[in-house]
């Protein structure tokens, strides 16, 4: 896979109510895009079972270079960690179409 290029996959799992705000922020921080799936789960802030609209989570994936990844995690930590149900994990991924991200 010659054309493959190493990038970061940043995955954010958090409260559905934050979706709109976060996606706007992501663009500002330099992400070229994002992918969202609806999710439910459990963690330090208890069970979030999507039993009704607002009680669910969203799972936001962003593929970006390490700098943007750094920016995103920092921003999330500063603005949301304290008061919202949220986790972030980062993985190394290879993508095609270098320069797209």
């Amino acid at each position: 896979m010659a054309a493959e290029e190493k990038l970061k996959l940043v995955t954010i799992v958090t409260e559905a109510v934050l979706e709109a705000g976060i996606t706007t922020t992501l663009k500002k921080l330099g992400a070229t895009g994002y992918t969202i799936t609806d999710a439910r789960g459990s963690g330090s802030r208890g069970v979030r079972d999507a039993g009704w609209s607002s009680s669910g989570n969203v799972r936001i994936e962003v593929i970006c270079n390490p700098e943007v990844a750094e920016k995103i995690t920092t921003h999330m930590r500063e603005h949301f960690y304290e008061n919202y149900a949220m986790i972030i994990f980062i993985a190394d991924v290879g993508v095609l179409r270098p320069g797209k991200f």
Partner: protein, 309 residues
């Protein structure tokens, strides 16, 4: 008792018994959309039929009520509940705003008893939803520079419940009773059935609040049961003094005695992040909502009748 209420009980029991009964979010959205549109459309048709003279002063009075309630509640809960500023403000906002489902049960309750009410009540429902949320945010953060009021105003004004209520009002008013004829089967005839299913879901949700209730302990329980009564009385007195019919007075009491669990939680979660969302939600949805549909509504109806003696 109005059978729709049994559906709430069914949901509550199923939830507490940890049944696997679930209502898909998509269905929940459909049901609430139908409720909001129906209330709006019904109101619009009524307004078209009997245009209300001098409704403006009444609307201002109701708006004032919406701004006042949270201001009254805030100090009380801070002291009695020993709650921090954000939690107290959030709770005040929830109880200042209104619950559409409680209103719907009230309408159904009066309907069963063939009690009519003034056509402008749905308008009051709209007016009461928002002010308390704004006050609540102000109470929590003061004139904090960071607040993105524009975004917030937009979010609240164009929130789905307001859009559907106001839209329904406008359409019902424009179409009038005759124009609505062909829409009645879905929006009017099914109303009670839709409400029943919605209450089933409300019961399931209320049950899911039970655990968090244990955490927050006695205060919430007491507050959730005690607070609605004086608030409803305030509404009743106002309704009576602005010259509403007994039915209208009762419904205004129901509105001001009810607590929001849709608009307020969403807005507060964004604008007052450091308020514990489950605290207000448990009180409004887990305690006050059941209290109102079982005890409150009949009580407020008595009260209205009494005032109109």
């Amino acid at each position: 008792m109005d059978p729709v209420i049994w559906f709430f009980v069914l949901g509550l029991v199923a939830g507490l018994a940890r049944s696997d009964l679930r209502i898909p979010p998509a269905i929940y959205d459909l049901l609430s959309m139908l409720l909001l549109l129906t209330i709006g459309l019904k109101g619009g048709v009524e307004l078209a039929r009997s245009p209300v003279g001098g409704i403006l002063p009444q609307m201002l009075a109701v708006l004032a009520l919406g701004f006042t309630i949270p201001l009254l509640l805030f100090p009380v809960v801070r002291v009695t509940g020993r709650l921090g500023r954000p939690d107290a403000a959030s709770l005040a906002a929830h109880y200042g705003s209104v619950s559409v489902a409680t209103y719907a049960v009230g309408v159904s309750y009066l309907g069963v008893r063939a009690v009519t009410f003034d056509s402008q009540l749905p308008v009051f429902l709209v007016l009461l939803e928002i002010p308390a949320i704004i006050v609540g945010i102000l109470l929590a953060r003061g004139m904090h520079p960071g607040t993105r009021w524009g975004a917030l105003a937009h979010e609240i004004l164009f929130g789905k419940s307001i859009v559907l209520l106001v839209g329904g009002l406008a359409i019902g008013w424009a179409a009038g009773a005759d124009g609505m004829r062909s829409l009645e089967p879905l929006f009017f005839d099914l109303f009670k059935g839709v409400l029943a299913l919605f209450l089933l879901e409300m019961g399931l949700i209320a049950a899911s609040q039970a655990r968090s209730l244990r955490q927050h302990g006695l205060f919430l329980l007491v507050f959730g049961v005690v607070a609605p009564v004086p608030l409803a009385t305030l509404g009743a007195v106002l309704g009576w003094s602005i010259g509403l019919s007994p039915g209208g007075t009762a419904l205004l009491a129901v509105l001001s005695g009810s607590a929001s669990y849709i608009a307020a939680p969403a807005a507060m979660r964004i604008a007052v992040p450091d308020a514990n969302p489950s605290l207000s939600l448990t009180a409004s949805l887990g305690i006050t909502f059941p209290f109102n549909i079982f005890v409150g509504i009949p009580l407020y109806h008595q009260l209205a009748e009494f005032l109109h003696r």
